[in-house]
Subunit: 154 residues, 3 copies
């Protein structure tokens, strides 16, 4: 078992079944030594777990949990695509969209829910670049959407 899978167990995180390709877009693609991951929503047990707007009907704590769930779904996509974590090299980038009105300004704190989870699970290989911005709305009223770029072993 890989270090990453051991850490997931230690942290009590069970990766969900990653959503399989279902339309004309796909959840992941490999190009060269990069794995590109489509925007992930805060899904849990097959349902969208946290909906609404930060600074409105979603608290910071719930927003952090939403970002953490997006990160867990990103990990599930990595594991499905690479058939485990042996070919995972490191996380390069997270693109963080927070569903929030103009009055909300704590996007970094929310997206830290994903950044912190990634480093907890992946160690130094989880340190990544990112942006964190406000979205005027998100699919199905999700509170957070995060996409990702990963470096893989050739």
């Amino acid at each position: 078992m890989s270090d990453i899978e051991s850490r997931l167990i230690e942290l009590g995180i069970t990766l969900p079944q990653a959503a399989a390709p279902a339309a004309n877009y796909v959840p992941t693609l490999i190009t060269g030594n990069q794995l590109i991951i489509s925007g992930q929503l805060p899904m849990q047990d097959g349902a969208l777990k946290i909906t609404g707007q930060l600074g409105n009907d979603v608290s910071i704590e719930e927003g952090v949990e939403a970002a953490r769930l997006c990160a867990i779904n990103i990990l599930a996509q990595i594991k499905r695509t690479l058939d485990g974590f042996d070919r995972f090299e490191r996380l390069l980038k997270l693109g963080g969209f927070v569903n929030a009105p103009a009055s909300f300004t704590d996007h970094p704190q929310v997206i830290n829910g994903a950044s912190d989870l990634m480093v907890s699970v992946l160690g130094d290989a989880g340190r990544h670049t990112r942006f964190a911005v406000g979205a005027a709305g998100l699919p199905f009223n999700a509170a957070v959407e995060i996409d990702a770029l990963v470096e893989i072993k050739a």
Copy 2:
């Protein structure tokens, strides 16, 4: 004539003259085996065709058509940059921004207008990763803006 150009004809799609470099930013750049394409708006015959906000003054059907026009402009940029489609390998990613208020939640349905067009024209090589999010506003009040990343033959 390439398969891609045949399919464009079958689908009755005429690619527009791609906007040429006009400022300190450029519509496309090639780096290694990747072609990066700047955000494209729903332009047709040199004019912005669909303006306004989804869930407000733009219907889902118009939003889908706006995303389709963005995709056609992306194809025009690919053709101009590569001087045809012979060096086109596959579409890697679309970044979809939908001009909409917080109450709108059907961003995926809108961006499917681009995703579906890409697979109609490009076949399996058109299957891509993507994100679809709400923008608080877009240039010149465009309804949709989409950027793209393409893999090319070395």
Copy 3:
């Protein structure tokens, strides 16, 4: 002294001390011949210089200056990461987020503040692809946030 550093002096631009890694995300990562730069805010002298919304409490001129400051911080990150500009090859992409309500439609003019600065400093190597979109809000109420992708010498 590199051409780039000469031009910075000619333009009277002093690059700030780039923010060092401080959390579970990092300001920059190198992968292959690419340098990925996290979203930069309009910081000057260690403080966020321009806050608020375009089309509301921030003028176009202030928005342009905010974008210019984001670009200067991107240059500072390039210089810190590469220990100067000798390994800099060219700027590939800027991702421009403008804090603005739906009524604002001049995002390109605002982000030109960054695009123009890049070409002033970097010459032809500063011509880049980009997107410019409206964000419903930005971290700490920043007026603009811009991330970047750079090609470096192998």
